[in-house]
Symmetry: C2
């Protein structure tokens, strides 16, 4: 069968795939710092054209280029594939044992920022598309690519682009980013994700740093910010902002069943993180519910005054914190931000200024959709074991533009990552064997989808 | 009279003094970062020998060199002069409008890190000593210099050195650092200072940063540290650590009188700091009492996770804070540190590790000492106005080694700084006219002390 020839082609061309991932990793593309964006967009465009896509590049305002690519194979089914070519900043640099932009291969893995999230993964999509014609078989589905360069800064252009081109983007199934192979060899398949409301709080005081020998004279911005934060979340992690949890819904019985059937690999997590227990000692279903059905209120960064070696005796003139709230359905990021602002005002912290840095709603595909069956079946065929079905994953991507705005049933979990891939952390990597399997999975999905329209 | 010839010499040689201060400022000597220490010690030694001192250099363990210099003028009175050749780090660099190590002269002032604190000031001591023989007059007192290179990191070697050389250091009067001219043209004279207990708190969690999409899974170190801090000091600035205030004594009636007679220049402070009111709206005597007779609990620095541009979605694996407690008599820095540790333990924060970075006890000279009269009288003569007498100043220097360990009555306030000198801050500077007057003041003190033994 064609699908077997195409899958064999994937296995037989490993060296080409490794070289392709290396090419992409070696080109930095840090969206938060506007590094290498245009160069990377040009590179990705070349790769898309190489596999036969007709590519159209566009910007929303002065956003980073969005690449739309289309392969009309004359088939009845169309698959819409999401990707992003930007990456997280590589710091803390001192903790990398490989060059973050070197694309080094060691022990069967490719290292570098973006190897997993998600240059390596997007390159796997291209390989899956290429495998059919390269092995002499017709591509069994039409393919549309939508590739952005702002995912790591909250995809500010994506919604506007998708609304503008809703017709062009019509499809029968969506492939989102974020494959993830567990230690037990089973992959995660998720059909939704949490949203995000990323906020910076800043308290300004004096117009200059002050010698701390005069520390008693002034209201100290760092203490003000710290006390403001302490009113927002108690020691048990419960957020104290009025209305914060109003739209949170408990899991349905079916969602709880899925959580129970596919438990977190707690040992692997604990070992990877070097911790003895999870938050508040949670385990099992309670831990999964906390992870996927509750919002978070994380401090991603905190800065005031002197943070170098030794001591400096100053009262810092200002203090800042970066807060990350992951949102579950039906929370709304802008409403969450307004509640934070209202909380500050109500508690007398008008000297703490809040800025909304990024806002992405949560997104969800119905678990009853036939596409769930197709993706799970293809996973069984390729990996030889059942996938783990999850109602959603804990991170935030703008998947809502597919499953909510376009109405395209969409999966996250077809891909190349694994439990030790360290995405968003030092020594990010993918294993070459996972690349091959993840690519074969998509090859199989194309085939199965065409058989079961 | 000799004193008038020596003072005239000071006024007539301004260019030499400016060049001398520039020489010292242009040689960085950041003790916290071990930058330029040996080079600066050698430079200071040359300057001391140039004015006729016999210099002996010594270290305590692997501490920075301590320079002892002696000029035996065959007189009955001996003045012991303290100095330090190290400086604070220059950051935040972006806020300097002059090169921090350029020694630039602009608008009658010399700019640079250390110009005020205290290279320029120590150079003024040398100029005062030089002025007598250079104008053909005998030096009316014997002089001993004690110059260290670790003041800005808490003088870890000084106490051991002073205990070891208590005999050599005997003197009738001590000159400490820290002159300060108010906006009204009157100088501050202080006869004590607060101590310091500088502590670093660190909370460690995971062994690596974690993608914040999994933020609900783990106990977050930044939140743990923040909640620990929030238990230590309430929103009104009152420290909640058991026993923290036990040794604090209210001002005596005479001390209150001095505070009343010499109010803070509140308008100048407010303008300099760009604030509309002081801590908790304090004014007048209450503000002065808070400043000089109460301890502080300042956050000097705070760091966790990503603090760069834009957003990064991580749970930081650790968080740190630098705390600075200024101590009044009879608080003890080590006892204060133990109370902080006990507080963390009692409140369940055993995951927050406390490190004592620096410990200096408070120091105090009796306001009844005849040296107080000598210094105040000389100030009146040189400045033409009464000085402002203060029981103590709010900063911390190891003055206790003079007035407590050696029993030498000691003044802080003879010097070259002014209300806009920005010490420990960007654009540190001294005005050349203040350098001349501060030097004349010491010339006059030498004379008056010899007349009133």
């Amino acid at each position: 069968m064609d699908v077997e020839r195409a899958r064999a082609y994937v296995r037989e061309n490993v060296d080409r795939w490794v070289a392709g991932v290396q090419r992409l990793v070696r080109q930095p593309s840090i969206s938060a710092q506007h590094v290498g964006i245009l160069e990377t967009a040009a590179l990705i465009r070349q790769e898309m054209e190489r596999v036969g896509a007709h590519v159209c590049e566009e910007r929303v305002g002065d956003g980073h280029p969005i690449l739309y690519g289309e392969i009309d194979a004359g088939q009845s089914q169309t698959v819409l594939i999401y990707g992003h070519y930007d990456v997280q900043p590589p710091d803390p640099l001192a903790e990398w044992t490989h060059d973050p932009f070197g694309g080094e291969v060691a022990d069967g893995a490719i290292y570098g920022r973006g190897a997993a999230d998600e240059k390596g993964e997007f390159f796997s999509r291209l390989a899956a598309v290429e495998a059919y014609p390269a092995s002499g078989c017709p591509l069994p589905v039409n393919v549309k690519f939508l590739v952005e360069g702002e995912e790591e800064i909250g995809s500010p252009s994506l919604e506007a682009y998708v609304r503008r081109h809703a017709d062009r983007l019509r499809a029968d199934a969506g492939i989102w980013e974020g494959g993830f192979k567990q230690r037990n060899g089973r992959i995660d398949l998720s059909f939704g994700n949490r949203g995000i409301c990323y906020v910076e709080l800043r308290c300004r005081g004096m117009k200059t740093d002050l010698h701390s020998g005069r520390g008693g004279l002034v209201t100290q911005p760092a203490w003000r910010l710290l006390h403001a934060l302490a009113t927002m979340r108690d020691q048990d992690g419960r957020v104290q902002i009025a209305g914060f949890y109003d739209e949170v819904k408990p899991p349905t019985a079916y969602e709880d069943t899925l959580l129970r059937e596919n438990p977190l690999d707690e040992d692997a997590y604990r070992e990877q993180l070097g911790i003895t227990q999870f938050a508040r000692g949670l385990v099992g279903l309670d831990l999964q519910r906390e992870h996927l059905f509750q919002p978070t209120f994380t401090i991603c960064g905190m800065l005031a005054g002197y943070t170098g070696r030794g001591m400096k005796t100053v009262v810092p003139r200002e203090a800042t914190v970066k807060l990350d709230c992951r949102l579950v359905p039906d929370m709304d990021p802008r409403r969450t931000f307004e509640r934070i602002q209202a909380h500050l005002h109500r508690h007398g912290f008008d000297d703490v200024e809040a800025t909304l840095v990024s806002a992405t709603p949560p997104g969800q595909t119905s678990l009853q959709d036939r596409f769930v069956t197709v993706v799970a079946g293809a996973a069984r065929t390729v990996y030889g074991v059942d996938p783990e079905l999850r109602p959603r994953f804990g991170g935030s991507t703008p998947m809502y533009v597919f499953n909510k705005l376009l109405g395209v049933p969409t999966v996250a979990g077809v891909g190349v990552r694994w439990y030790g891939c360290n995405y968003h952390a030092p020594n990010e990597n993918i294993r070459i064997e996972d690349f091959v399997q993840g690519t074969e999975h998509l090859v199989q999905i194309f085939w199965d989808l065409a058989q079961r329209p």
